[in-house]
């Protein structure tokens, strides 16, 4: 074992795909050769200027990057403390940060000669992003979605179909995101020759957690440059919500070695983090285990059976979390907290009324925490929150929670 390097938090994973004890390649033998091949292609693409140029071009002209770093003046006044900036990744094409990663993976898939793309989706955002990019490049796209989620997220299901994707409802298990991921892995095992699995978050077997992080790191790189330009210095605090943790990893990673920057990840606290397990806070309420190709913190019972998370936000409702987050949690570089359904709903409404921005329920969790801490911070404290998705998809859920009836 090599001792933990203390001069940087950004060198992981090691050659075994580990961040400390987390990560790894816990997959069936059938998939191992593919994963090794993917790693080889990714390592090559990473250093190929033509790959970077292609990404850059699509980010600028197709996605609309860079996303603005917006000073939320009225939220700041409302809190009366820290200066609150929002990194506006909800303004991306398809309305969330998901497309940053999807573009990278699809370009890689094409370099590998794969013609069929599969993806899992919970709320449907990753599915929509994948279907979008597949349409753009004329690739076959199959999206696995839990049957329960298909029912809950009809508009996104229809969007994916409009974009030419096939949506496969998964009835195995309880029909939610983790079951969709199981089914995607089963499809991949079956169609190894021609299929590329486009994972939507910083989880799964190595190299996915590192690869997805790298593609999402554009968020933090931009935020860093924008803040330096705007305020002449780095932010004091970063806040992002965490389901699997890709938007958070994307914002955090470029700042990990700036030790003066306080970094906070906000998990979904559902109905509260207690023994009822009606939450999706893997770090706060789970323990290390192995699922979906990696070792990480998981919601599980004493027997190691996985427990379904609960969150009002379908995008945070996953019983695991990216392995790099588990490592950053254990070494204490990043603080992980949670916000409940109720707190997220309140923050959602506050943001609508004060900023004219309808946030997704996922970043509403991050905002809920910002509203908790900002009032006690000094007025020159610079806080950046990742507004990683817009809330159009959530209006039915919110109406329902507020006891209002609107027709779909």
């Amino acid at each position: 074992m090599t001792p933990e390097r203390t001069n940087t938090y950004r060198s992981g994973p090691d050659e075994h795909g580990r961040f400390g004890i987390f990560g790894g390649r816990f997959v069936a033998e059938t998939l191992m050769p593919l994963i090794l091949d993917l790693e080889k292609h990714y390592e090559h693409a990473k250093t190929d200027p033509s790959f970077a140029a292609q990404m850059e071009d699509l980010w600028t002209h197709y996605v609309g990057r860079p996303s603005p770093l917006y000073f939320a003046e009225r939220l700041t006044e409302h809190c009366g403390g820290a200066k609150i900036y929002l990194k506006r990744d909800e303004l991306n094409h398809t309305g969330a940060h998901k497309i940053n990663n999807v573009l990278g993976q699809i370009l890689l898939a094409m370099r590998m000669g794969k013609k069929r793309i599969i993806a899992e989706t919970g709320a449907g955002q990753h599915g929509v992003a994948t279907a979008t990019v597949c349409a753009r490049f004329g690739l076959e796209c199959v999206v696995f979605m839990g049957a329960t989620d298909v029912e809950r997220q009809k508009p996104n299901v229809f969007r994916m179909r409009l974009l030419g994707a096939k949506v496969v409802p998964v009835t195995a298990g309880r029909g939610t995101l983790k079951d969709a991921m199981n089914e995607a892995l089963r499809d991949w095992v079956t169609n190894v020759e021609n299929t590329f699995y486009c994972i939507g978050t910083v989880a799964g077997p190595h190299p996915y957690p590192a690869m997805v992080r790298d593609f999402q790191s554009i968020i933090g790189q931009e935020a860093r440059a924008q803040m330096l330009e705007r305020e002449g210095r780095l932010p004091d605090t970063l806040v992002a919500c965490i389901g699997g943790g890709s938007n958070a990893m994307g914002l955090f990673h470029p700042f990990l070695d700036d030790r003066e920057v306080r970094i906070i990840g906000v998990e979904a606290g559902g109905h509260g983090v207690d023994e009822r397990m009606e939450h999706a806070a893997s770090l706060t309420g789970g323990r290390p285990g192995v699922l979906h190709g990696n070792r990480t913190y998981l919601l599980q019972d004493a027997d190691g059976q996985i427990i379904e998370g609960h969150s009002i936000s379908a995008g945070l409702d996953y019983p695991g979390i990216g392995p790099e987050h588990s490592w950053l949690h254990d070494i204490g570089r990043v603080e992980y907290v949670y916000a409940t359904d109720r707190e997220a709903l309140d923050a959602f409404q506050t943001c609508c009324r004060l900023e004219g921005i309808i946030p997704a329920l996922e970043p509403s969790h991050a905002l809920a925490h910002v509203l908790k801490i900002a009032p006690d911070l000094p007025k020159d404290h610079l806080l950046v929150m990742n507004m990683c998705g817009r809330g159009d998809k959530d209006i039915f859920t919110v109406a329902d929670a507020l006891g209002e009836e609107i027709s779909a």
Partner: protein, 270 residues
């Protein structure tokens, strides 16, 4: 390392010039007592080696039949500790038939690798198949299991190329399990013609018996595969039969038909 029971089973089938028949059942499906009764009946039905499934909420390598069996078992209260207890009770009466525990890593990790291995040896398990532990993760369980005296049986697949073969076969013992299809358990049918060269390649490289599973669905299919392999594994078909009829004795009669199919393999080939 003690692979006595496994070695003895293959010595016997070899001397009888027939393939070994390996039956997979899900521990605790539909409930602990029925499952134990089914397990106890397997040797009498002609089963040479028992693969006992450990239920897991997220069986990523399994098709619908075994997924549903796992769900039924979990709903009926199956846990890893109870599956191990099932083996202990089986061994009170039967000491010859090798038992291979097959499942996923997380329940074992949750119990703790050392505690699990000690208990597995104590109750009389002979080998382990853990689907989500490829050779790259051998330090986790494979090497500790070998030290504890358990065989760690590796899955080789159609995607295992020559470059990977040595690492797949390193640290393995007992027998090699060839996954006959790219896919999940119980999906496409195994094709003996396609399987034969792979079995031969594995046999040469490992010096171990090679058993074939994942797509063996009927007595005829078992016979066909039994001609080219040292052993035939049937899982989904048995588990599916149990789900369909809900009767232990009827399931055992079906297992007997499968065994007879496999055992006839070499005879009908001549």
């Amino acid at each position: 390392m003690t692979t006595e029971r496994i070695d003895a089973a293959f010595a016997k089938t070899k001397s009888e010039d027939r393939p070994a028949f390996i039956a997979y059942i899900m521990g605790g499906d539909p409930d602990l007592e029925s499952s134990l009764r089914l397990m106890k009946g397997l040797p009498g039905a002609g089963v040479d080696i028992i693969e006992l499934g450990q239920a897991f909420t997220d069986p990523m390598a399994d098709g619908p039949a075994i997924q549903l069996a796992g769900q039924r078992a979990l709903e009926a209260g199956a846990t890893l500790a109870r599956t191990l207890e099932m083996v202990r009770r089986f061994r009170e009466e039967e000491q010859q038939t090798p038992i291979i525990l097959m499942g996923y890593y997380n329940p074992i990790y949750a119990m703790g690798v050392d505690a699990f291995l000690a208990r597995a040896v104590e109750v009389g398990i002979d080998g382990l198949i853990v689907v989500d532990l490829p050779p790259e993760e051998d330090d986790e369980l494979c090497i500790p299991a070998a030290k504890a005296g358990l065989s760690f049986i590796r899955l080789a697949t159609p995607t295992t190329d020559d470059a990977r073969m040595p690492s797949v076969l390193a640290n393995t013992s007992g027998f090699v399990y060839y996954v006959s299809i790219t896919g999940v358990t119980g999906s496409a049918s195994a094709n003996a013609q396609a399987v034969a060269p792979a079995v031969e390649r594995l046999r040469k490289a490992s010096g171990l018996p090679v058993c074939v599973g994942f797509g063996v669905k009927s007595p005829e299919n078992a016979a066909e595969i039994g001609r080219v392999a040292d052993g035939v594994v049937v899982g989904s078909a048995i588990v599916g039969k149990m789900a369909e009829c809900g009767d232990v004795d009827e399931t055992l009669r079906y297992v007997q038909l499968l065994c007879e199919g496999a055992h006839r393999a070499r005879v009908s080939a001549e």
